[in-house]
Amino acid sequence: MISNPEEVMIRAVRNATRRANPALEKILETHLEIHANAKFELAFRDPKKFKELVNKLFGEYSGRLLEMLIVEEVKKLVGIDENVDSLEDAVEILKLL
C-alpha cells in the first residue's frame, strides 16, 4: 500500500517509462539528475518543470505520450476513474487523497 502521494507519483513515472520502453527509465532519470539535480519526485514537486525537461529530451509529442502514460498509471495506482488529462491535474488529485 502506497500512502505517500509523492511515492505514488514516483511509482507512476517508473511504471509509465517501463511501459513505454524499459530503456527510457534510466535515460530519463539521468537526464533529470543532470538538468535539475532531481529524480522522478520532480514530477510531483514541479510538474511543469518535469514536463519541460521531458519534452527537451524526447520532443513535444513523445513528452505528451509519457504524460498520458503517467496519468494512466496514477489513476491505476490510486484506483480512480476521473477525467484527468494532465500531470498537473494528477498531482492535485494525489494531494487531495
Binding site: 511501459r19 513505454a20 520502453n21 524526447f58 520532443g59 509529442y61 513523445s62 505528451r64 505520450l65 502514460l69
Partner: protein
C-alpha cells in the same frame, strides 16, 4: 513539380480522397522523401498535413526537406515525432495520434512508419487498428492517409501481410540491380477507384527531391521541320544537301582520332555564333578540356558563351535514369537548337543494352518533340556501324575513317545516310588542321 506527372499519368486524379495508402519500400528507396513530396503538394494546394514520425526527430526532418527547397514551417503542417513504444503503451500512443487528428483536422496524414507503430502488435490488432481506430476516423472525415511501411531488404512480403488487404492502395518502391547501377522503381500494386494503366515507373532522387522518369508518350511526332541548320563546316553542309534538319538525330561514327569531337565543336560553335542555342554534353572529358580544344581551333568561347553551354557528366557515377533526367532538365532549361552528346560509346560502356536502347528511345522522343538537332558521336573499331539499334534511330549517319599511307594519315568521310536529303554518296578526304576540320573536294 514531378507530382503533376504522378497525378496525371501514373495515378490519374491523385489518391482518392479519404483513402488509405500503404507506401512500402526497402531502406534508402526514398519513402520519406516521396511522402514529403506528397505533403508539400498538399500544402501547396491549400490542404493541412499531419506528419507522424516514429523514425526521426522534427528538426532532422526539417533539415532534410529544406535541402530540396521545401518549406514546411507553416501552420498548415504539423510534425509529430514520437518514440516507439512497447505493446503495453501502444493503445495510449494510438489514442494520442487519434486525438491529434481530431484536434488538427488535417486533409492528409502521413505515418512514418506503420511498421514502427505496429511492430509489437499481432496481425489481428494491426487489422483492427487500421480498420477501426485509425480507419474509422480518417474515412469518416475524408482524410487521405499514407502509411509508410519498411520492407526488409531481400524480403518480398510486407509487414504482417494484412496491411495490403485493409488499405485502398499499395505503392512499392524497389531497387532493381541493372549492371553497375541500381534502378529505382515505383510500382503501383493496387489503387482502388483509380484505373492504373502502367504499374511501374522509374524515379531518381535528385537535389529537387524525388523526380519521376517522365516517359514521353510513345507516339510519332507528326510535325517535322523542313528547316535545316549548319553543321559548322560549309563543305559538309553541301555534302548533306544544306546541313541537318532541326529535330534530326545525327550519328558521327569513327575510329579513335578521326576527329568526331572536332566535328561536333564546329556545329555547336557555328550555331552559337548565329544566335542558336547549343548544348555540348561531354561524357568523356572535363568542361575545361573541351574549352581548350575550342581554343586550339581558334574558336572564341567567350564570344558565344551566352549561347553555348558545355556540360560534363560522368556516366560511371550516374544511373541511366538520372542521366536521362539531367539531359531532360538541360533540354527544358536551355531549349537548345543543337544538342551534342559526346559520346554514345561512353554511355554504352556504362549501361546494359536494354537500358541504353530505352534511354535512346526516350531521348529520341524528347529531341523530336523539341525540334532539337542532336548529334551523337560513336567510337567504332572498323568502318562499320555496329547494329545496336542506333542506325534505325539516326536520321543521318556520318562515317569517319582513316588509312595510314606511308608518312601520312589519310582521313575519309562518307555520308552513309541522310533522311530526306539528296546527300553526297561519295567518299571525301578531310584533314584536321589548326582551324579544325577541312573537307577536300
Amino acid at each position: 513539380m514531378s507530382l503533376d506527372y504522378l497525378f496525371k499519368e501514373i495515378i490519374p486524379n491523385g489518391f482518392p480522397r479519404g483513402s488509405m495508402i500503404l507506401l512500402a519500400g526497402e531502406p534508402g528507396t526514398g519513402k520519406t522523401t516521396f511522402a514529403s513530396l506528397i505533403a508539400h503538394d498538399e500544402i501547396r494546394r491549400g490542404g493541412r498535413v499531419l506528419f507522424v514520425s516514429l523514425n526521426e526527430p522534427r528538426e532532422d526532418f526539417y533539415k532534410t526537406v529544406e535541402r530540396f527547397g521545401w518549406d514546411f514551417r507553416t501552420e498548415n503542417f504539423k510534425f509529430i515525432d514520437l518514440f516507439t513504444v512497447d505493446k503495453d503503451a501502444l493503445p495510449t500512443q494510438i489514442k494520442l495520434i487519434v486525438e491529434e487528428v481530431v484536434k488538427y483536422r488535417p486533409s492528409l496524414i502521413i505515418i512514418d512508419s506503420i511498421t514502427a507503430l505496429t511492430y509489437a502488435m499481432d496481425p489481428g490488432t494491426v487489422r483492427s487498428f487500421l480498420h477501426a481506430s485509425l480507419g474509422s476516423v480518417v474515412k469518416s472525415s475524408g482524410i487521405t492517409t499514407i502509411l509508410i511501411a519498411e520492407k526488409p531488404m531481400g524480403r518480398e512480403g510486407l509487414g504482417y501481410g494484412v496491411e495490403e488487404f485493409v488499405v485502398d492502395g499499395v505503392i512499392v518502391l524497389r531497387y532493381i540491380k541493372c549492371g553497375e547501377h541500381y534502378r529505382r522503381v515505383f510500382e503501383v500494386v493496387k489503387m482502388r477507384r483509380r484505373r492504373i494503366t502502367k504499374p511501374q515507373y522509374e524515379y531518381a532522387i535528385t537535389d529537387r527531391g524525388l523526380v519521376f522518369f517522365e516517359v514521353p508518350r510513345l507516339e510519332r511526332v507528326e510535325s517535322v521541320s523542313r528547316e535545316k541548320i549548319t553543321t559548322g563546316i560549309a563543305k559538309l553542309d553541301a555534302l548533306m544537301d544544306g546541313g541537318i534538319y532541326k529535330g534530326s538525330i545525327t550519328v558521327i561514327a569513327g575510329q579513335t582520332g578521326t576527329g568526331k569531337t572536332t566535328f561536333c565543336l564546329h556545329t555547336a560553335y557555328s550555331n552559337a555564333l548565329k544566335g542558336n542555342k547549343a548544348v555540348f554534353v561531354t561524357f568523356e572529358e572535363s568542361v575545361g578540356s573541351i574549352l581548350r580544344m575550342m581554343e586550339c581551333y581558334g574558336m572564341n568561347y567567350d564570344s558565344v558563351k551566352e549561347n553555348l553551354k558545355v556540360v560534363s557528366i560522368v556516366p560511371e557515377s550516374e544511373s541511366p535514369v538520372s542521366i536521362f533526367v539531367k539531359l531532360k532538365d538541360i533540354v527544358e532549361r536551355e531549349r537548345p537548337t543543337v544538342l551534342i552528346l559526346d559520346s554514345y560509346t561512353a554511355l554504352k560502356e556504362n549501361m546494359n543494352s536494354v537500358e541504353l536502347s530505352k534511354m535512346m528511345r526516350y531521348l529520341q522522343l524528347l529531341v523530336k518533340v523539341n525540334q532539337i538537332a542532336t548529334i551523337l558521336t560513336m567510337n567504332v573499331e572498323s568502318d562499320k556501324i555496329p547494329s545496336i539499334g542506333l542506325s534505325t534511330l539516326a536520321d543521318n549517319i556520318v562515317c569517319l575513317t582513316y588509312d595510314l599511307k606511308e608518312d601520312e594519315v589519310c582521313r575519309k568521310i562518307l555520308i552513309l545516310k541522310s533522311r530526306a536529303s539528296n546527300h553526297s554518296r561519295k567518299i571525301h578526304r578531310y584533314d584536321i588542321t589548326s582551324e579544325g576540320v577541312v573537307i577536300r573536294d
